[in-house]
């Protein structure tokens, strides 16, 4: 580990990196945002001027060193500037999830004691106003978009332009103060505080220091040879550590340009226009895109379909090999070239992947078919494994060693250790400082030597040195007969079917496994349309007999595949329901990063779980749902259980194996 007090190349903070970039890359673009139909751009030196004006404005408003500034909104240059401006004045930026409801925000804002909130628009301002009585430390709010806010009481509300204007006017007076605060930033001072989405319990504030961020950015930029010529599209939540590393850490270290979409709905168009060279997306995004491509291909003519499948089959066979630099016959190469011209090139262009040099996916397991599809097209899609506490990177796949079932080798500077119970531990320069105001959790997660528990169970493959993750360590349990229960392993297999959006498997301490399944409305809806199946609602479609038959087929195939693994063959699904509602973060069933909250689901749908175990054919249930605006409603439905075939596994065989 490189432990330098003076920072990397003498640069100890993000504002210091900004200063360097404004000199070195002065006229290169630093930020772009599409607004009014045109990509507006700011060079590094312009960005520095904007950030400085804002920082001076913050000092003018009375922001002190060590204050927390909450930042809420979608990815916009102004909000990235807000983070760096906050750092410049010695304050700590705390980005929040913009789709969080007021209640969730109240907890975080109160916990960090933010005095100042920078919010993007009326929606966010309203949420903060709603809860401000419960925030003793809250003083003022800055907003970006004035729309709808003119009539508001402006005693504690200021516009972003006003703050910048005040900053520019105060430059002579406060310039020295800003400079002093900027230069006093130390390598071990807090860079940012990010709240984890909280798969269990309340969110925790992860404190990351300048060292964490800069060392991580430096190592990961070297790993993939990222330079100032990269283009990224910033579209993932700003509160997520990944966005902070990609759009601030690495962008400032390497000096590349961060592009912000026009609106969340235009993401795909913007992606295509920018054609990023460095791209990150969770598996879900790749899945959705693939589903859409396949749906559209089914709508096209017979000839086009045949050409598409002909070349895609070829690509699946040789594409990944070409990408990994393995030997491929000249004939196959030639045919791949032709395919590139006919299919792959245009397809990549339509997806916005024409220039992708390095692409990552993480967060969840990605289906091998999905992964191979993109690699076959010649997109260098890789997997990484990380978490907020590690400043993202724990392991990642080097070029040429990419597989769908591993998450790669330890990132530069990261040490790995597997505990007795299979839990993965790591130690790295990116390891977080602490959980804010939560010494107990810090102690539970990070030991005095700096080893951090990931909470995931996995093992390192001996021959390759790659890490493989099986499941959440605490989710891995035992069934009644003592065989291994790894729900996520089965759920992932199920989710690889385009028709299945989400699956939750139960079975810890029981004699057999049962499951809840969410259909994917896009895929199943399209299928229903094609097969002349009429339906009026999600609910109705979900309980349609033919849909249930189709899902049952998928479950049976999954069971067969699960049965192949001796250790996990007990996890086959004996009965399942297709749920009448989509699992939703607003109802607390998923985290904001869309991970299943198993315990909450088990409690909420207790009647259904019991129904599955008691062997009833159908169960009537009422479920409370929360609408986007916070109102509550009820969904009533009768669900029909199915009992898919299970591959018999003689328990003697298992005992013998143990």
């Amino acid at each position: 580990m490189t432990e330098t007090m003076e920072g990397a190349a003498g640069l100890r903070s993000i504002p210091a990196l900004l200063r360097r970039n404004a000199t070195t890359f002065a006229s290169r673009p630093a930020y772009r945002e599409k607004e009014f139909g045109i990509w507006q751009s700011w060079s590094w030196s312009e960005a520095e001027a904007e950030i400085e004006a804002l920082a001076l404005g913050l000092i003018e408003m009375g922001v002190a060193k060590g204050d927390f500034i909450a930042i809420i909104g979608r990815n916009r240059p102004y909000l990235y500037w807000s983070m760096v401006a906050a750092q410049s004045v010695g304050a700590i930026p705390v980005p929040l999830y913009q789709d969080a409801v007021a209640e969730e925000m109240a907890y975080v804002l109160d916990h960090c004691g933010a005095k100042l909130v920078i919010a993007s628009d009326q929606e966010q301002v309203d949420k903060v106003i709603e809860i401000q009585d419960r925030l003793p430390d809250f003083e003022r709010m800055i907003y970006l978009d004035a729309r709808g806010l003119r009539k508001y009481d402006h005693s504690a509300l200021t516009s972003f332009e006003n703050v910048q204007k005040a900053g520019r006017e105060a430059k002579d007076r406060l310039g020295a103060e800003l400079e002093a605060r900027r230069t006093s930033l130390g390598y071990d001072d807090t860079c940012v505080m990010l709240y984890t989405s909280g798969t269990t319990g309340k969110p925790k504030g992860v404190v990351l220091s300048n060292r964490n961020i800069i060392e991580t950015a430096k190592a990961s930029c070297q790993f993939d040879a990222l330079s100032e010529h990269e283009e990224v599209l910033a579209y993932l939540p700003m509160a997520w550590v990944g966005d902070f590393i990609f759009s601030i850490g690495q962008a400032y270290w390497a000096g590349f340009c961060v592009n912000c979409p026009e609106s969340p709905d235009t993401m795909m168009t913007d992606l295509r226009e920018i054609a990023p060279t460095y791209y990150f997306a969770p598996p879900r995004v790749f899945e959705t895109q693939l589903t859409q491509i396949m749906i559209r291909m089914e709508d096209s003519g017979r000839l086009k379909q045949r050409i598409f499948h002909y070349f895609m089959n070829h690509a699946r066979r040789v594409g990944p090999k070409i990408l990994d630099g393995e030997s491929v016959s000249a004939g196959d190469r030639l045919k791949y070239r032709l395919g590139e011209f006919m299919i792959y090139g245009p397809l990549k262009n339509a997806l916005g992947f024409s220039r992708v040099r390095v692409g990552y996916t993480a967060g969840e397991a990605i289906g091998p078919e999905i992964f191979d599809f993109y690699r076959a097209l010649g997109i260098n899609l890789k997997q990484l494994y990380g978490q907020t506490e590690a400043s993202v990177f724990i392991t990642q796949q080097p070029d040429g060693e990419v597989r769908s079932d591993t998450v790669g080798v330890p990132s530069p500077g990261v040490e790995l250790r597997i505990a007795e119970n299979g839990e993965v531990f790591y130690r790295s320069p990116g390891t977080f400082v602490e959980y804010y105001k939560n010494a107990e959790s810090t102690k539970d997660t990070k030991d005095p030597e700096g080893w951090v528990a990931t909470g995931d169970a996995g093992f390192i493959e001996e021959e390759t040195g790659h890490l493989r993750i099986i499941d959440r360590a605490k989710d891995v349990g035992k069934m009644a007969d003592g065989s291994l229960f790894a729900p996520k392993y089965v759920e992932n297999k199920l989710k690889f079917y385009p028709n299945i959006l989400e699956a939750v498997v139960f079975g810890a301490g029981r004699d057999r496994c049962v499951a809840f399944i969410n259909i994917d409305l896009t895929a199943v809806g399209n299928w229903a349309e094609r097969n002349n199946i009429a339906y009026a609602s999600y609910q109705e479609l979900a309980q349609n007999k033919q849909v249930l038959d189709m899902i049952q087929d998928h479950v049976e195939e999954t069971n067969a595949s699960v049965a192949e693994d001796d250790m996990l063959s007990g996890c086959q699904i004996h009965r399942f329901f297709v749920l009448h509602k989509e699992l939703d973060a607003d109802d607390g069933e998923l985290t904001r990063t869309r991970k299943v909250r198993r315990k909450i689901i088990a409690e909420k749908f207790e009647d259904l779980v019991e129904g599955l175990y008691s062997g009833e054919d159908s169960v009537y249930t009422e479920t409370e749902v929360t609408y986007e605006d916070g109102r509550k409603g009820k969904i009533k439905a009768t669900l029909f259980a199915r009992s898919p075939k299970v591959v018999p596994v003689a328990s003697q065989v298992r005992e013998a194996a143990e």
Binding site: G37, G148, S263
Partner: protein
């Protein structure tokens, strides 16, 4: 509450003087009296609703305001002057824009092009210059495009900018129509049943946009609407019509308490 200088609304907005005044308007189609001797005014900066049961004469009234119909009797004052009989495009030039109950967009054109048509009254370059896209025509187009983009941004329809209108769902078409009307930078915006056929969520969106338009650009808005809840929440003052007659006029609260209005809406025993 009301005087020549205007008034202040419950939420603290300053409403200006009279923008348009309808004086003793009567409209007959042969023997049918669609509108019978109605007078009311629309003030600058306010949201003015016209409500009433089916067949009350609301749309006819809106058509008189927009200059599409000429009243059989009575006069229309606009900005203090009697408005002579005009062609619809002349009315549009005067700063009146409208949306239609049955969407009237160019289905085959993109959203952007449709909204651009709203700028027609702001295009003055000659045919020759437009054909060559040179000089004045070019400057004008860039100017207009910028304005249109602001409207698109305002109404949050960036994602369908290049989509042909024919492919859009109903609720979005309504929004595009509003965009086209807004692109004309009207001083008076007429909305003919802006929420008709919408679901609750679309209605909420549309209401927010109407309020924001009024708030942001200070546009005076006159609207016809069936949905009582929406009307009462949105408007500053309401005219109630029944069988071609005005049976009520005032703030939503006043109108709500008016016996004639209650009778018209709920029916009375004859």
């Amino acid at each position: 509450m009301k005087d020549a200088q205007g008034y202040v609304t419950a939420d603290g907005r300053q409403i200006g003087g009279v923008l348009m005044e309808m004086k003793n308007i009567t409209l007959r189609f042969g023997g049918v009296v669609a509108i019978n001797d109605i007078s009311f005014d629309i003030r600058e900066g306010e949201i003015r609703a016209i409500i009433g049961p089916n067949g009350a004469g609301k749309s006819s009234m809106l058509n008189i305001i927009s200059g599409f119909y000429t009243p059989t009797e009575g006069e229309v004052f606009y900005k203090g002057e009697i408005r002579p009989q005009m062609k619809p495009y002349e009315v549009a030039r005067m700063g009146v824009a409208r949306t239609f109950q049955n969407i009237a967009l160019f289905e085959g054109m993109t959203v952007l092009d449709n909204v651009m048509t709203g700028r027609l009254t702001h295009m003055n370059a000659g045919l020759f210059s437009q054909a060559l896209w040179w000089g004045r025509a070019r400057d004008e187009e860039m100017d207009n495009r910028e304005h249109v983009e602001r409207v698109i941004d305002f109404l949050e329809i960036q994602n369908i900018r290049k989509t042909p209108v024919g492919r859009l769902p109903y609720g979005l078409k309504k929004r595009v129509e509003l965009a086209r009307a807004l692109a004309a930078e009207p001083s008076l915006l007429l909305l003919d049943e802006p929420m008709a056929g919408m679901n609750v969520e679309e209605k909420e969106d549309m209401s927010r946009f109407i309020l924001d338009v009024n708030d942001e650009f200070g546009t005076t808005i006159a609207l016809i609407e069936h949905d009582m809840g929406v009307v009462m929440d949105l408007s500053d003052r309401v005219v109630v019509m029944d069988y071609g007659k005005k049976i009520g006029d005032g703030t939503p609260d006043e109108v709500r308490g008016n016996q004639a209005v209650i009778d018209a809406y709920l029916g009375v025993a004859h």
